[in-house]
């Protein structure tokens, strides 16, 4: 842990900024749990609750940004303080995006109808949500405790999300080819899965920022990027 600042009010502000990120992270994580539950139970009321809560996350992001900009203007931070504050703005923006994806998930609750397709694939969606929730909570933990190893661990777990997504993608393609009736629900599920996969990318970015705050260098490892569905082909026959 770095030493305290001589101006203790600066430490207070930094701690407050961190506390806001923790609060935001907790809320975003909860959004995924709720969105998944809404999806599984076709719970439109819960889905609506998720959509409403997303506005709170947007406001939190705006407030964090405002406070951080104020600190830059008034405190002229340098070195790790500067990295910390600038990265916190980016972390907040990342969480806001991750939150958006949860909202998108909830939005689709009312449009997915076809029972069968959902029951087959929702287990994998559930798995993805479990992964992403774990990544969010761990990356926030890494941020607050300045735990670089934990950040790297989160960073590496993105490939799990990608691989579930890729297998789900193939599975849904098969359904769609077998029965055109599945096309609509399967497409919705595909969008949901893609959203969660994107959320994983943002969580990975946050892990990189945590690393940068503490080390002053970019996480140099090669990123296990890209979902391979970009290159998937359909056999037309």
């Amino acid at each position: 842990m770095p030493h305290n600042h001589i101006l203790s009010s600066f430490d207070d502000e930094l701690n407050d900024l961190r506390a806001r990120i923790v609060k935001m992270g907790n809320l975003v994580e909860k959004q995924y749990q709720n969105a998944l539950r809404a999806l599984e139970h076709k719970d439109k009321i819960l889905a609506e609750k998720v959509r409403k809560a997303d506005r709170i996350i947007d406001v939190m992001d705006a407030e964090i940004e405002k406070q951080a900009i104020q600190m830059i203007a008034l405190r002229s931070p340098v070195a790790d303080d500067l990295r910390d504050i600038v990265s916190t703005i980016k972390i907040s923006a990342g969480l806001e995006r991750i939150g958006d994806y949860a909202k998108n998930l909830a939005k689709r609750v009312s449009v997915i109808r076809h029972e069968e397709a959902i029951s087959v694939s929702s287990a994998q969606i559930g798995q993805m949500v479990t992964e992403i929730s774990g990544m969010i909570s761990d990356v926030i933990d890494a941020y607050i405790t300045r735990d670089i190893d934990k950040a790297i661990d989160v960073w590496q777990r993105d490939k799990n999300v990608d691989s579930i997504y890729n297998s789900l993608f193939r599975e849904l393609l098969t359904y769609m080819m077998e029965n055109p009736q599945y096309i609509t629900p399967a497409t919705h599920l595909l969008f949901i899965a893609k959203n969660i996969e994107r959320a994983g990318d943002h969580a990975t970015n946050i892990a990189e920022l945590v690393y940068y705050i503490n080390e002053g260098e970019l996480l140099a490892l090669k990123r296990p990027k890209d979902d391979s569905s970009n290159y998937a082909e359909i056999d037309a026959n």
Partner: protein
């Protein structure tokens, strides 16, 4: 070839090697090694009493005037040992000018303040030549437009910021190679400070500048290289952009971010 490698090929203007300074029993500087690159601004930062001014005064041998002061080690300017017997200290101080914290114009006219150095060093062939030097120095110090109609008025009647620029004009009038500045803006308001900073940025095209400052923001804005002094030693020296985003030494970080060390 990238920028840093080009820079590294250029011979430093000033080289300090294993410099120790004592004031009687006080050991003010210990084993200072520092290369100062030509036509760059090098900032010296560090807590009060860490030896920044002492080091600055070594570079133009101002410490010679302090009886209790003793120095060991070596400082060269363009490869020449400035402490060797055949160095003319007066010539050295023309080559290595100094601007102080408190502007100290002579109680003479603005013109004479600037003409003083060129006169004693015999730099002007005639009056016209001297005019030329005085006018161009005032122009380069950014003071010309403000004083051109009152060159015969006393230098001490100018504002603090103007006085400081007058001292800079006086320093550059003898065409130095290096300009040393010891907290040149600490008595100035933000606008006067910004004007001096802009001037320093201009001056580095022609001169090598070493500046002591207690303003971290000023060091960050102005300099390309920063040396962090602590208890008589240099703990970290490097590119200013690196020092202020990612200092390598814990003590540097604590100092520039305002933490308890």
């Amino acid at each position: 070839m990238d920028k840093t490698t080009v820079q590294e090929l250029i011979q430093p203007t000033i080289k300090a090697r294993n410099v120790d300074v004592y004031y009687g029993e006080t050991h003010a500087l210990m084993g200072i090694d520092l290369d100062i690159a030509p036509k760059t601004v090098t900032a010296l930062i560090g807590p009060s009493g860490c030896g920044k001014s002492t080091f600055l005064r070594c570079i133009n041998r101002m410490n010679d005037t302090i009886p209790s002061c003793r120095m060991t080690g070596k400082i060269t300017l363009d490869g020449e040992d400035i402490y060797s017997k055949n160095i003319d200290v007066v010539q050295l101080r023309a080559k290595v000018g100094m601007v102080f914290q408190k502007a100290n114009p002579f109680p003479k006219s603005i013109y004479d303040n600037v003409a003083y150095g060129p006169r004693i060093h015999g730099l002007a062939a005639d009056d016209k030549d001297l005019d030329e030097i005085v006018f161009s120095s005032l122009q380069r110090s950014g003071l010309w437009n403000e004083v051109k109609d009152r060159l015969d008025k006393s230098g001490t009647a100018l504002s603090g910021g103007q006085q400081q620029r007058l001292c800079i004009a006086r320093t550059i009038a003898v065409n130095p190679e290096v300009i040393l500045m010891d907290e040149p803006c600490s008595a100035l308001d933000p606008i006067a400070t910004a004007i001096i900073e802009e001037l320093i940025a201009d001056l580095k095209e022609r001169f090598t500048i070493v500046i002591v400052t207690h303003s971290m923001q000023q060091a960050a804005r102005l300099s390309q290289k920063t040396a962090f002094f602590h208890l008589g030693k240099i703990l970290e020296f490097g590119d200013t952009s690196e020092i202020f985003t990612n200092p390598r030494v814990e003590k540097t970080k604590d100092y520039i971010t305002g933490r308890y060390g």
